[in-house]
């Protein structure tokens, strides 16, 4: 910890307005040399805007930025890099088809040499890696590296540019628990060497574990900056973040599984584009239970859900819903059974953003009563049911004629929920249903799903957030590269074990 408390960076009274929102309202932030400073806040609190301003990606409307006591101008990332500010984006900024070495030296101008200084760079990188205890394969192509390694490349890239402050935007979002441990070791090492880190997150336990001080943002304002003392706990932080006391615990009744609703029998699906396909997955899902599927993003989550919904061709195996073989049935037929489907990509797959809410709410079967028949739509019923559902699901919208585009992410997800689970369902397939939602909206999704479970629905809950899986599931499965590594009851779950499975190691 920075005992002498030398101020490295000061952002004073930063204000940034967009067309109709003030993303940063008079925000000030002070970062000391050699500290890990967490920036905590919900989605849309203004963390990313503040950091984009610091990195020169956005222009501020008002305020000053002082680095080592000197005011710096930040019109482009080049100026930020020059000053000693490095940023590691949530979505890594790496060129997949370049080698690690090429990625690290990209964009640098060293002297007047036209030729790439490959050998010199290699020596410098080796020295850096040694002094920070990092280990990277310098000649490997980035696209062949696992996510944790790519993150290391990003860190080395920033260090190579002599960054004194590293901005890390949600660095743990894409990592397995083991990779998070390794990252934290690296971060501690960087702190010991006198580097400062701004650690952006909305995960409370991580923030408590790694940071020296915590700045909390809410609705574009800086609420508070507090020292991370041992008696600080998640509940206090959450209260600061949301602005009032909230419950973090989910109340869950014991699980009493009934008949089998969904069964997969040695199913296979081909890889498509970036996805990895499905390899020999079998499981059964019963009434009244939640099967949580954990895994790092991109390991077959969407393939699995799309295969069950008939959106992906099943190349081998059998899928049964309520005893009926639906292998390679049309999505329309599968949808005709009492199924709720919350797709991974809310904006592209779940809603038509330029449709009104009432039409969006009728999209699951507009050609069936009460919404209409094969030829006509019954707008009276559509409006009436939409109003009921919006009320039942607490959607904050002026009325049901509002366009879906104009709602916040949380309210959009509530609309999806209202459509998919608003009627009696036997099976719910939910993929990343809380992605991008704030604490309140997440709670709402949890409560809705648990209510459905207790009402006798079988729920397949696919998420990359291990916390959520552990909170909700009755049984837990882990996906790795399209393979279901293991399925076990939630009470036997150990984070360590799940983490290893997520990384593809059988235990």
């Amino acid at each position: 910890m920075g005992k002498q408390k030398e101020i490295l960076l000061e952002m004073r009274n930063i204000t940034k307005r967009f067309a109709n929102v003030t993303a940063n309202d008079d925000v000030s932030l002070t970062v000391y040399k050699g500290e890990i400073h967490a920036l905590l806040g919900e989605n849309g609190a203004g963390k990313s805007t503040l950091m984009n301003i610091l990195y020169g990606l956005m222009k501020r409307d008002a305020g000053r930025v002082l680095f080592k006591g000197r005011e710096i101008s930040l019109h482009s990332p080049a100026q930020a890099i020059e000053a000693g500010i490095g940023m590691i984006h949530q979505h890594f900024q790496l060129v997949d088809k370049f080698t690690v070495l090429e990625n690290i030296i990209l964009g640098l101008r060293e002297g007047r040499h036209i030729e790439l200084p490959l050998e010199r760079a290699e020596k410098k990188i080796a020295a850096l890696c040694e002094s920070y205890g990092l280990d990277i394969k310098i000649r490997a192509l980035v696209e062949n590296l696992p996510v944790g390694e790519q993150q290391k490349v990003e860190i080395v890239k920033a260090l190579y540019r002599d960054s004194e402050i590293l901005i890390m935007d949600e660095p743990t979002a894409v990592l397995t628990p083991q990779e998070v441990r390794k990252l934290f070791v690296t971060l501690n090492r960087l702190r010991e060497e006198g580097k400062s880190i701004i650690f952006i997150s909305h995960k409370l336990p991580e923030v408590l574990e790694i940071s020296d001080r915590i700045s909390i943002m809410r609705d574009g304002r800086m609420v508070d900056t507090i020292d991370n003392t041992p008696d600080l706990n998640s509940r206090q932080l959450a209260t600061h973040m949301v602005g009032r006391e909230i419950k973090l615990q989910v109340e869950k009744k014991p699980c009493c599984p009934g008949e089998v609703v969904l069964s997969l029998d040695h199913t296979f699906a081909d890889a498509a584009g970036e996805s990895c396909g499905i390899k020999d997955i079998s499981f059964e899902l019963r009434r009244g239970e939640i099967l949580g599927i954990a895994g790092v993003d991109g390991n077959g989550q969407e393939d699995l859900s799309e295969m069950i919904m008939g959106l992906r061709k099943l190349t081998k195996g059998k899928i049964c819903i309520l005893g009926e073989d639906v292998s390679n049935s049309s999505t329309k037929k599968i949808r005709g059974m009492s199924i709720g489907y919350i797709p991974a990509d809310r904006l592209h797959a779940a809603l038509v953003l330029d449709f009104t809410l009432k039409l969006n709410l009728a999209l699951n079967h507009p050609d069936k009563p009460p919404y209409g028949n094969r030829f006509l739509m019954n707008f009276k019923n559509i409006s009436r049911i939409a109003k009921e559902k919006l009320k039942q699901f607490n959607v904050a919208a002026p009325d049901c004629a509002e366009l879906a585009r104009n709602l916040s992410g949380g309210n959009q997800q509530k609309v999806v929920l209202a459509r998919e689970v608003g009627e009696k369902t036997d099976l719910i397939i939910a993929v990343y249903p809380t992605r991008g939602l704030d604490i309140d909206a997440t709670r709402f999704v949890f409560d809705t799903l648990l209510k459905e479970r207790d009402g006798g629905a079988a729920i397949l809950y696919i998420s990359t957030e291990l916390e959520e899986i552990l909170t909700l599931s009755d049984r837990i499965g882990v996906l790795y590269e399209g393979v279901l590594m293991d399925v076990f009851p939630a009470e036997n779950a150990e984070v360590e074990k799940i983490g290893l499975l997520m990384a593809g190691e059988r235990v």
Binding site: N52, Y55, L57, M58, S76, P77, A78, I81, E82, M87, H89, Q93, L94, V95, D96, K97, F98, E102, I105, L106, G107, L108, R109, E110, H113, I114, E115, L116
Partner: protein
């Protein structure tokens, strides 16, 4: 007799390949930076026209070639302003520049020379390099060529080196693969792309000048006759690597040279129209193979706008 024909064919294959190869290398630069080089045909046309006109006026090869290159670069610069700066559709703009250049060069030709056509200009004689040209078989093929061919020999590896071994090349490839990444590292995406397109224009311009001055020895309407497209296909087939693209260009050259030889042999009773088709049939076969096999630069054809 038989051997002489083969030697002559090989020599002409190299000579005829040169314009296509130069265009292919130019296309590599433009497309590696993320901009479709659909206008390559147009750059060739304007350069061919300008270089012939300057040649008639000055009788100086170097000046006319330089002016031809400048013309190609100028049109490429205008194209890059529309596509890279203003964000217009790259395919449409490229096709547009081809049509405009075809119309412009044809009209100017008729305006100044009427129906008589542009007079022929002096041929560029091949220069046999001592010793090297005496090597059996390949000597005559490679080292008994016009000086423009030797310049091309030098340019191909140089282009490869610039693209894969220089910091300029690294930045160029980065803006073509992942412009937002390059941007966060302080690379000026727009400027790099404009440079890529203009360098492409320079190579296409040189190709057009070589075609007009060294091969046709005049300017005729639509003189490029699809060589810009062949260069585009060669670059794609060669995976946007100047060396491989040149190899592909050589195959097109062989097809065209074969076509020219076959026309001379009147004994062969194939319609001359079919013979003329040969290079294009080769191109179609190429396109069939290119299909899925090549991973194009990830940012190709996508306009990059800053947040």
């Amino acid at each position: 007799m038989g051997m002489a024909v083969v030697l002559e064919f090989l020599n002409s294959m190299i000579r005829v390949s040169v314009p296509v190869i130069l265009v292919a290398v130019g296309v590599c630069f433009s497309e590696k930076s993320g901009v479709f080089a659909m206008g390559s045909e147009g750059y060739m046309l304007i350069s061919a026209f300008v270089s012939v006109v300057v040649m008639i006026q000055t009788s100086n090869h170097f000046v006319s070639i330089a002016m031809g290159i400048c013309a190609g670069m100028a049109v490429a610069a205008v194209f890059s302003y529309f596509t890279v700066v203003l964000g217009a559709d790259q395919v449409i703009c490229g096709l547009g520049s081809n049509f405009v250049m075809l119309g412009l060069t044809s009209s100017l030709q008729r305006l100044f020379w009427g129906t008589t056509g542009i007079p022929r200009i002096a041929a560029i004689n091949p220069i046999a390099i001592p010793l090297l040209s005496d090597i059996p078989f390949v000597g005559n093929m490679l080292f008994n060529q016009p000086f423009l061919t030797y310049i091309t020999y030098a340019l191909i590896p140089f282009a490869w080196w610039i693209m894969f071994r220089s910091s300029f090349g690294l930045n160029l490839r980065a803006v073509g693969e992942n412009p937002s990444c390059a941007d966060t590292l302080g690379v000026n995406v727009r400027r790099m792309r404009v440079r890529g397109v203009v360098i492409g224009g320079a190579f296409c311009g040189l190709g057009g000048a070589v075609l007009a001055l060294s091969q046709v020895q005049s300017f005729t309407e639509n003189i490029s006759g699809g060589r810009g497209w062949l260069g585009l296909i060669a670059a794609t087939f060669g995976g946007w690597n100047p060396l491989a693209a040149s190899g592909a260009g050589l195959i097109f050259g062989a097809a065209e040279s074969l076509q020219l030889r076959l026309q001379i042999f009147s004994k062969i009773s194939i319609s001359s129209y079919v013979i003329l088709l040969i290079p294009y049939i080769v191109a179609v076969v190429f396109i069939m193979f290119v299909g899925k096999s090549k991973r194009h630069p990830a940012g190709l054809g996508k306009h990059y706008r800053k947040v």
